[in-house]
């Protein structure tokens, strides 16, 4: 089959896929706008697309600085924008809209998983037939990170988000920056402030991207220096030198531009629109310059980081350099090992993960104080007992430890079960040393007996509560005539079930077994 003439050849170009992928970055925003109609505020005039772009911009504005934008700050900022769009709505709605937009960019609905889409890749075979492949594309727009200094969560925009916003820039950062500046310079001379402002905006976004590139290199270095050793040996020193020169130029150039804009500010008294634009550009350039200064500092420190990491990582065991595979290397093997063998390595994992614990040591002074302290007298001012309640003595109390032990044993046995099974479980159970095993046994038997045939005692509710706590709230007990075969006990071997239904099922299956 030959390629259909109705399809343009561009579909088969390599650059075509790039365009598709660039467009795809806008999908989550479009989807969020789509789904907004299903929200309670969906009928009002909130523009989700604009708010989403504003959110990304807000995040980028402080990305890489000391204090990056937190989730709550971003919500407040967007809520303010939303408020001016629909002033008649209450502030809770504005906030809900803001949360909706940021959550959509984080993909919170799918637990912050990356956005995943499938795109088609068409290729033209030499024989003229069309081949189709489905390609999975995954990306994030915003993600949440822990600010290590402040301990709060901050938002960061991904390279995808930055690029999508800048408009699919795929050029070398340095060249692009130079081009933008040249353009800005010329535009200012021509007085084209609207365009100049756009260019300054782009220049700022490029600075953010540049900063992220450097961050990625340094992160790789800190993580495992061996993966980037080649780059450090060959490319990086030259690249840093180039960057440093470039930054120095940039700092100078932006300073000059700033002067230029300021002079425009002084002379353009005629048009207030131009004055305002120039002031905004001046602000932007100021921020660019701050960013470059910070980048410069990072560059200067980069070499030290490299040397530090080389020293640090050279003493790490080889195994420590790769990331562990927890799921298949640790968790699954632990699950499938014999329980007694797994206990030790499983405990080791928990202990290693826990980090250090400072041992609690008894202070001698405290100990002496405690020993010398006078014995605490029982409180004298106890309220006198009412005469009416002085009838029967209290039923013998069951200590909470015994109650807990009995509950734990019953919980560990799958119900329905015979009383004899429960009693054997008590005898086999791992009880704390000083606990009276006999008392636990008695309690289990009493609970079963009580549920089978409640006695008309005075204190009805306590007994019901205790039995329910041990055997479960809806437990039922029945007898089928078989006798108990546990030393120390005699009588019917009762059947304990969680509820009527399971008892009925148990009865049905045991009848089948007999017949």
């Amino acid at each position: 089959m030959s390629a259909p003439r109705t399809v343009g050849r561009a579909v088969f170009d390599e650059a075509f896929g790039g365009r598709v992928r660039a467009l795809l970055r806008a999908r989550p925003v479009a989807d969020a706008a789509d789904n907004a109609s299903r929200q309670s505020w969906g009928t009002h005039d909130y523009d989700v697309v604009t708010l989403a772009l504003a959110a990304i911009d807000t995040v980028i504005s402080r990305q890489g600085f000391e204090e990056e934008v937190t989730y709550d700050e971003a919500v407040i900022g967007l809520a303010r924008l939303a408020a001016s769009a629909c002033p008649e709505q209450p502030s809770e709605v504005h906030e809900a809209v803001a949360r909706y937009v940021i959550d959509a960019l984080l993909n919170r609905r799918e637990r912050e998983a990356p956005f995943a889409y499938q795109v088609s890749d068409f290729s033209l075979e030499p024989d003229g037939s069309v081949q189709h492949r489905a390609i999975a594309v995954e990306f994030r727009l915003l993600s949440e990170h822990e600010d290590l200094q402040r301990g709060v969560n901050v938002l960061r925009a991904s390279a995808d988000a930055i690029n999508a916003l800048v408009g699919g820039l795929e050029f070398d950062v340095e060249d692009e920056q130079a081009a933008v500046e040249l353009m800005l310079d010329r535009q200012l001379k021509r007085g084209a402030f609207g365009q100049a402002e756009k260019a300054a905006e782009r220049s700022r976004l490029l600075s953010v991207r540049y900063s992220d590139e450097l961050r990625a290199l340094l992160t790789d270095t800190v993580r495992d220096i061996r993966t980037v050793l080649d780059r450090w040996a060959r490319d990086v020193p030259a690249q840093f030198e180039r960057n440093r020169v470039h930054l120095e130029e940039r700092l100078g150039a932006e300073g000059r531009l700033l002067d230029h804009v300021r002079s425009a500010l002084d002379t353009a008294e005629a048009d207030p629109a131009i004055t305002a634009a120039a002031a905004r550009i001046a602000g932007l350039l100021e921020e660019c310059r701050r960013r470059h200064t910070e980048l410069h500092g990072r560059l200067v420190g980069a070499r030290t980081i490299f040397l530090d990491e080389q020293l640090r990582q050279s003493f790490r065991p080889i195994g420590g350099l790769r990331n562990p595979d927890i799921a298949d290397g640790v968790f699954l093997p632990l699950l499938t090992m014999a329980a007694e063998d797994a206990a030790e390595p499983a405990e080791a994992f928990a202990v290693f993960a826990a980090g250090p614990q400072v041992p609690r040591i008894v202070r001698f002074a405290d100990l002496v104080d405690d020993l010398l302290a006078p014995r605490r007298e029982p409180r004298i001012d106890e309220p006198p007992l009412d005469d009416e309640e002085l009838g029967d003595p209290d039923p013998p109390a069951v200590s909470p430890e015994i109650l807990a032990a009995a509950t734990a044993v019953v919980d560990s046995v799958p119900l329905p079960a015979r009383l004899s099974v429960l009693l054997l479980a008590v005898r086999a159970a791992d009880l704390p040393g000083e606990l009276d095993r006999g008392a636990v046994e008695r309690l289990v038997v009493l609970a079963a007996l009580w549920t089978y045939a409640p006695e008309s005692a005075e204190d009805f509710s306590t007994a019901v509560d205790t039995a329910a706590r041990i055997l479960g709230p809806a437990a039922v007990v029945d007898a089928d005539g078989s006798l108990i075969d546990v030393p120390g006990w005699s009588g019917d071997d009762l059947i304990v079930a969680e509820d009527e239904e399971t008892l009925a099922r148990w009865a049905a299956t045991s009848v089948q077994e007999v017949s």
Binding site: L148, R150, P324, I326, A346, F352, A353, P356
Partner: protein, 246 residues
């Protein structure tokens, strides 16, 4: 220049700060200064690592989070699981270990996930379901032919025996959750991680939901994961006394 008494005292101050997981260099200028010195002054650096080595501790990270330390098993600073509430038997310690590993496996399913420092959240329910699913898969898997060892019981059955126990406990609050329920143990481990500075409660995200902190990523990624892997590998080789965490 050799280190004087004041310098050695500073070494002690820095280690003291590092042993308090909730102390941050960002909020403490002394800590920040000493941390800077640790990173720049080779002699000071060596003094700190030597003292730590003597205490069977090692530095896992020295960044904005401060000095993050890992403890070898024999260290006096190694956590004793029996200090956890209700942990008294070997089976309990096994549960705590399994659940800790499950949490790590849940949030870092692949090795590459350790490189991503985005925030991770878990809830008691999610972890219970994650381990329960793993148990169910193992239950359905064909029985291995191991005739020679009849008393062999796999570790996952220890967890599988626990009831999720959620319905019976609904509305009664966490205090009433039985120690025989799996959710009790998951919550126990997560609360312990909060105490150790590895996680924090995230009440805005839902009931019993926790944020795992950067410290958890470091402890598991830099020490616990590989050290336990080595331990398991050594066991498979039949060597029961491997040297790990050095």
């Amino acid at each position: 220049m050799t280190l004087g008494q004041q310098d050695l005292s500073d070494v002690g101050v820095l280690i003291g700060c590092a042993l308090r997981p909730k102390q941050r260099p960002g909020a403490d200028s002394d800590y920040r200064t000493l941390l800077g010195r640790y990173r720049e002054d080779a002699e000071f650096h060596n003094a700190v690592t030597s003292v730590l080595d003597g205490l069977d501790l090692q530095v896992l990270a020295a960044g904005e989070l401060g000095l993050v330390l890992g403890a070898r098993r024999e260290s006096v600073f190694a956590y004793r699981l029996t200090d956890l509430p209700n942990v008294s038997t070997v089976a309990h310690r096994l549960l705590v270990g399994l659940i800790s590993a499950a949490i790590a496996a849940y949030v870092f399913p692949a090795p590459a996930d350790f490189d991503d420092d985005r925030v991770r959240w878990v809830s008691v329910d999610e972890i219970e379901r994650f381990v329960r699913d793993a148990c169910d898969r193992l239950k359905r898997a064909p029985e291995p032919q191991m005739l020679e060892d009849v008393s062999f019981e796999e570790a996952w059955r220890t967890y599988d025996r626990l009831s999720p126990g959620y319905k019976a406990d609904r509305g009664k609050g966490q205090g009433r959750r039985s120690a025989a329920s799996s959710t009790y143990w998951v919550a126990n481990v997560l609360n312990w991680m909060v105490d150790q500075g590895l996680a924090r409660l995230a009440p805005n995200r839902g009931p019993e939901t926790f944020q795992l902190l950067e410290r958890f990523r470091i402890q598991v990624g830099e020490l616990a994961g590989n050290a336990t892997y080595e331990l398991l590998a050594a066991r498979r080789r039949g060597d029961h006394t491997p040297v790990v965490g050095t």
